[in-house]
């Protein structure tokens, strides 16, 4: 877990608090106790360690959400990595 994410997720484990949110970006997957935090806070915390594109769309449980969306325990937040473009040439 990045130091930035550690700061927003507090010191107790997600299992202890029931605030675990599954966070995905490309091949990266992690769980963190970030319930009550906004998507924007998580993006800011992980932008550098995971190299999240500013254009990556935030999706919670299958729905596109706004940056101000408040996360709840048990949800899955994905920042959708941009699709690879090439393959034919």
């Amino acid at each position: 877990m990045s130091e930035e994410l550690r700061q927003v997720s507090g010191t107790r484990s997600a299992a202890q608090t029931g605030t675990a949110v599954r966070i995905l970006y490309g091949i990266h997957a992690l769980e963190a106790a970030v319930a009550g935090r906004t998507v924007a806070e998580i993006r800011h915390a992980l932008a550098q360690p995971l190299n999240i594109s500013p254009r990556a769309v935030p999706v919670v449980d299958g729905e596109v959400v706004a940056e101000g969306y408040l996360l709840q325990g048990g949800q899955q937040l994905e920042f959708v990595r941009l699709a690879g473009e090439k393959g034919r040439a």
Binding site: V59, G62, K86, G87, R88
Partner: protein, 226 residues
């Protein structure tokens, strides 16, 4: 009879076609394989693409498949996919492997598939050492997974051009270096999707690959539509 369309016979298409044709031939399931590409093989393609003759990619590969697997129904359509011909190329009930190098064509194909009742669309793309495969499946007029555009604004509003009307700039981007092994990884992931679909269902809507990290990550986005 299952109609299988392979659109794009470049790095990914050339990698997935031989095992796909071999699998279909020896599985003995009735199907017809249609290869679609308006481009031609050139010497500069040789580092990543195997071909026995110069010429239109769809025709060259169709001849190779027909020679190696006699009896397997295969045909070539030497055209790029455009809004004008997509309805003729892709029909309800098809399984489509899409290995193109531009988001504009991905959007054309995905938008068309949204209008069909039953479709399996498997789209692969890559950069140098990472890539992704998207799966768009419809059954009985209902989405089982998301179309290529739903979570990907870069595909929904593509900034690139179609190879059918490629400018010099677009051609230069299309010619950007790629890694053979990455094309192979994406092709393999696309074939895995096809097999999972044949076995009853694909439990994810997209899979990400990174060959340097040695990792793949399937993503099931949940919700009512995936």
């Amino acid at each position: 009879m299952l109609e299988i369309k392979v659109i794009g016979l470049g790095g990914i298409g050339c990698a997935l076609l031989p095992p796909l044709a071999r699998y279909l031939y020896y599985a003995g399931t009735g199907c017809r394989l249609t290869l679609v590409d308006g481009d031609v093989f050139e010497q500069r393609n040789l580092p990543r693409q195997a071909f026995r003759a110069a010429g239109n990619k769809a025709r060259v590969k169709a001849e190779e498949v027909a020679r190696e697997f006699p009896g397997l129904s295969v045909r070539a359509i030497p055209e790029f996919v455009t809004p004008a011909n997509v309805a003729d190329l892709i029909r309800s009930g098809d399984a489509v492997f899409l290995g193109v190098d531009n988001h504009r064509t991905r959007k054309v194909v995905s938008d068309h598939c949204e209008r069909l009742s039953d479709i399996l669309l498997i789209s692969g793309g890559n950069e140098w050492t990472d890539g992704n495969v998207q799966v768009y499946c419809r059954q009985g007029g209902r989405d089982l997974s998301a179309p290529l555009t739903r979570f990907h604004p870069e595909i929904a509003s593509p900034g690139d051009g179609s190879p059918a009307d490629a400018s010099c700039d677009a051609a230069a981007v299309a010619g950007a270096p790629q890694l053979l092994f990455m094309n192979l990884a994406v092709a393999s992931a696309m074939l895995n999707v096809f097999y999972a679909w044949q076995q009853g269902g694909v439990p994810y809507g997209e899979v990400y690959l990174d060959i340097l990290a040695g990792r793949s990550q399937p993503v099931q986005r949940g919700g009512s539509r995936e």
